[in-house]
C-alpha cells in the first residue's frame, strides 16, 4: 500500500556547519493527522519547508535521503515540477496569518488566483468556487468578505482565510505549521475543530506541526517527536501519551504543568536545546538525559520499532527499557 508521504533519512544542512536535519524518517497516510512535535530549533519548520519544496538551496543543502509523495521522489524533481505540486497537491497553512497574507490584495483575490492558475477556471467560476470554500471554513459574509482586505478581518478570520486558500484546490497533503499558536484558546479550539472537519470531508493527509503537546494530543492520530534534527519517537497518540519510550518524550510530558500536578514540583529537563551548529556527539540528547551512559556519548542510536499489534512505535534510544529512578 502506497503511503501518501514517505520520508527516509532526510539530511539537510545550512552553510556547511548547521545540521538542521540528520536523517528524518516520517510516514503519512491519507485521512490521517500526523502531529510533528518539537521545540524551536528542532528542525520541524525545515522539514515542512523541504516537503513543500521551498528550501532555499544556497544556503541550504540536501545531503541525502528521500521524500516520496504519492509514489514520486520529490528530491528528483525540477523546480517547475515542484511548483506544479505546490498549492495543488501539497498546501501549507502558516503561523501568523497577519504576516502571511498579502496586505495589498483582497482576500478573494488571494483565493481565486489559485483556482484560476491550478484549475484553469474562468474568473466568475473561480469566484463562485471561492464563495463555497469560505463558507466551508466558516467565514461568513460571502462576497463582502471576499472583497475585504486581510487587515479588516479578525485574527481567527484571517486564519480561516489562510486555510481556505490552502484547501481551495483540494490538495492531498496539507501542512499546518503551528496554525493555532498565535491564537487565543477559544479560537484555537474552533480552528482545530475546523481542521478535523476538513480531514473528514476532503480525504487529505494533514501534517500538524506544533510545539504544544496538548494541542497535538487533541488533534493528531499519530505523533512524531523531533529533537535536534532527528525523529526520536513516533507512534500513535495513545501510545505516545500512555507509554512513551524515549527519555525526551517522557521528560517533556512530566515537565508540562497542569492542574493535576498542583503541589508537586515539575520535572524540568536540565540544559537547553542544542543549536544546529553545536550538536552533541553520539545521541544529541545525552547531555540532558538522566539515563545516559557511555555508549550514548559516542554512538547515535538507530531507530528501532518497539510496536506491537501492527501499531508502529519507533524510537531512537540506546536505553529503552532501562529503569527510571526517582521519577
Amino acid at each position: 500500500m502506497e503511503h501518501l508521504l514517505k520520508i527516509e533519512g532526510l539530511d539537510v544542512s545550512f552553510n556547511e556547519q548547521a545540521r538542521a536535519l540528520r536523517g528524518i524518517d516520517l510516514i503519512m497516510d491519507t485521512g490521517q493527522i500526523h502531529g510533528l512535535v518539537g521545540e524551536s530549533g528542532s528542525g520541524k519548520t525545515v522539514t515542512s519547508t523541504c516537503i513543500i519544496g521551498l528550501l532555499p538551496v544556497p544556503p541550504g543543502r540536501i545531503n541525502g535521503g528521500s521524500m516520496i509523495f504519492k509514489g514520486r521522489e520529490l528530491l528528483n524533481l525540477s523546480e517547475a515540477q515542484r511548483r506544479s505540486l505546490r498549492g495543488r497537491e501539497i498546501a501549507m497553512v502558516f503561523q501568523e496569518p497577519a504576516r502571511y497574507l498579502n496586505p495589498a490584495l483582497r482576500v478573494g483575490e488571494q483565493i481565486t488566483e489559485m483556482l484560476i492558475l491550478h484549475q484553469d477556471l474562468e474568473k466568475q467560476q473561480a469566484i463562485a468556487k471561492a464563495l463555497e470554500i469560505i463558507d466551508l471554513v466558516g467565514l461568513k459574509g460571502g462576497t463582502k468578505t471576499l472583497r475585504r482586505y486581510p487587515h479588516e478581518l479578525s485574527g481567527g478570520m484571517k486564519q480561516r482565510a489562510m486555510i481556505a486558500m490552502a484547501i481551495s484546490c483540494n490538495p492531498s497533503l496539507l501542512i499546518a505549521d503551528e496554525p493555532t499558536t498565535a491564537l487565543d484558546v477559544t479560537l484555537q479550539q474552533q480552528i482545530l475543530k475546523l481542521i478535523q472537519d476538513l480531514k473528514q470531508r476532503f480525504d487529505m493527509g494533514i501534517l500538524f506541526i506544533s510545539h504544544d503537546l496538548a494541542v497535538v494530543h487533541e488533534i493528531a492520530d499519530r505523533i512524531s517527536v523531533i529533537y535536534a534534527g532527528r525523529i526520536v519517537e513516533s507512534t500513535t497518540k495513545k501510545r505516545l501519551f500512555e507509554e512513551p519510550l524515549h527519555p525526551y518524550t517522557r521528560l517533556l510530558l512530566l515537565s508540562i504543568p497542569d492542574a493535576g500536578k498542583r503541589g508537586t514540583r515539575l520535572k524540568a529537563i536540565p540544559g537547553t536545546v542544542p543549536d544546529a551548529e553545536h550538536i552533541p556527539s553520539g545521541c544529541a540528547f545525552h547531555p540532558r538525559c538522566p539515563l545516559a551512559e557511555e555508549i550514548c556519548r559516542h554512538q547515535d542510536p538507530e531507530t528501532a520499532d518497539y510496536g506491537s499489534n501492527g501499531e508502529g512505535h519507533t524510537a531512537a534510544c540506546h536505553m529503552i527499557g532501562k529503569k527510571w529512578i526517582d521519577l
Binding site: 521551498l54 511548483r83 501549507m92 497574507l101 498579502n102 495589498a104 488566483e113 492558475l117 479588516e152
Partner: protein, 308 residues
C-alpha cells in the same frame, strides 16, 4: 464612503496649510528690513514721493488691514501687481506655469521610467550585472549636479550633434533635454528606493505564502511583492514632482526656459513683493495639491490607511 471622509479630511488639511503659509510669508516679508517704496523711489526721491509710492503700494496702512486685504485678495486669486513689470502677478504666473508644469511632468515620468524598472530588476536579480549597473548609475546620478548634466547634454546633443535646439521654448523638443537632466538626477534616488523597497518586500512572509501556493515567480514578484513595494516609491515621486513644480530654477536658467523658476528668481533679485508673495503662495498651493493627490493615490494602493 471611507475614501470620501478620508479625502475630505486631507483636503481640509490642504486648506489649512495654504492659509498658514500665506500668513507666514506675509509677515516675513514685512519683517525683513528694507522698504520697497524706497527701492522703487530711488536714492534722490523726496519724502512726498516716497509717501506717494507707499500709498500706491498700500504699505502705509496698518498691518492688520494689509493682512486682511491680502487674504481677501488671495481667495479671489488676485496676487496684486508686479512692481517691476506692472503686470498682474496672477497673469505672469499663469503664463509661465505651463512650461514649468510640462518640464516637471516630463521630468518625473522620465525619472520613473528609468528608476522603477531598473530598481525592480536590481532587487530581483541581486548581485547580477543588472544590479551593479543600477547601483553604479544611481551613485553617479546622485553625484552629478543636474545643471552640469544639462550643460553637458546641451554641448553634446545640441551643439556638437545638432539633434535638439539650443534654447527657446516653442515645442516639446525644447523640453526634452531639460527634462532629461532633471529626470536622470531624480531617477538615481528613486532607483535606490525602489530597489530597497522591493528587497524588503521580497523578504516578507506573505511572499513565502505566495510561493507555497504554487504561483509562478512572475506572479509572486510582480503581482504580490511589487504592489507593496511601490508604495514608498510613489510617495517620494510625488514629493519630487512638487519640488520640480516649484520651478527647477537652475535648469530653467541653463536652458533659457521662460518658466516659473526664472520668474521668481528675478522677482527676488528685484524685491518685487507682490511677485514673491504670489509665488510662494502659488508654490505652496501646488505642493499641497500634489501631496493631496499622492495621498489619495496611496490610499488606493494601500487599503490600510483608509481607516484613519
Amino acid at each position: 464612503m471611507q475614501v470620501l471622509t478620508f479625502a475630505l479630511r486631507r483636503f481640509g488639511r490642504l486648506l489649512l496649510t495654504v492659509l498658514l503659509i500665506s500668513t507666514i510669508i506675509f509677515f516675513v516679508i514685512r519683517v525683513i528690513p528694507g522698504d520697497p517704496a524706497l527701492v522703487i523711489a530711488g536714492i534722490d526721491a523726496t519724502q512726498e514721493d516716497i509717501q506717494a509710492i507707499r500709498a500706491q503700494l498700500g504699505t502705509d496702512r496698518p498691518l492688520i488691514v494689509q493682512y486682511l486685504s491680502w487674504l481677501s485678495d488671495i481667495v479671489r486669486f488676485d496676487f496684486g501687481t508686479s512692481m517691476i513689470s506692472s503686470q498682474p502677478v496672477t497673469q505672469l504666473i499663469l503664463e509661465r506655469f505651463p512650461i514649468t508644469l510640462s518640464l516637471a511632468v516630463m521630468g518625473i515620468i522620465i525619472s520613473i521610467l528609468i528608476a522603477v524598472p531598473l530598481g525592480v530588476l536590481s532587487a530581483v536579480k541581486r548581485w547580477s550585472l543588472w544590479d551593479y549597473l543600477g547601483m553604479v548609475f544611481s551613485q553617479i546620478g546622485m553625484a552629478i549636479p543636474s545643471f552640469w548634466l544639462g550643460i553637458m547634454l546641451l554641448l553634446i546633443l545640441a551643439v556638437k550633434i545638432k539633434i535638439f535646439p539650443l534654447f527657446g521654448s516653442g515645442s516639446i523638443r525644447h523640453l526634452i533635454l531639460p527634462a532629461l537632466s532633471l529626470g536622470i538626477a531624480r531617477a538615481a534616488v528613486l532607483l535606490r528606493l525602489t530597489r530597497a523597497s522591493m528587497i524588503e518586500e521580497l523578504s516578507k512572509e506573505y511572499v513565502i505564502t505566495a510561493r507555497s501556493k504554487g504561483l509562478t515567480e512572475r506572479m509572486v514578484k510582480y503581482k504580490h511583492a511589487l504592489k507593496n513595494a511601490l508604495l514608498p516609491v510613489i510617495t517620494v515621486a510625488g514629493i519630487q514632482l512638487g519640488y520640480m513644480l516649484g520651478g527647477a530654477i537652475i535648469i530653467e536658467q541653463v536652458f533659457s526656459l521662460p518658466g516659473l523658476g526664472r520668474l521668481f528668481l528675478f522677482g527676488v533679485y528685484q524685491r518685487d513683493f507682490p511677485l514673491i508673495q504670489g509665488g510662494v503662495v502659488f508654490v505652496a498651493v501646488i505642493f499641497s495639491l500634489i501631496n493631496f493627490i499622492v495621498d489619495m493615490f496611496y490610499s488606493v494602493l494601500n487599503p490600510k490607511i483608509r481607516i484613519r
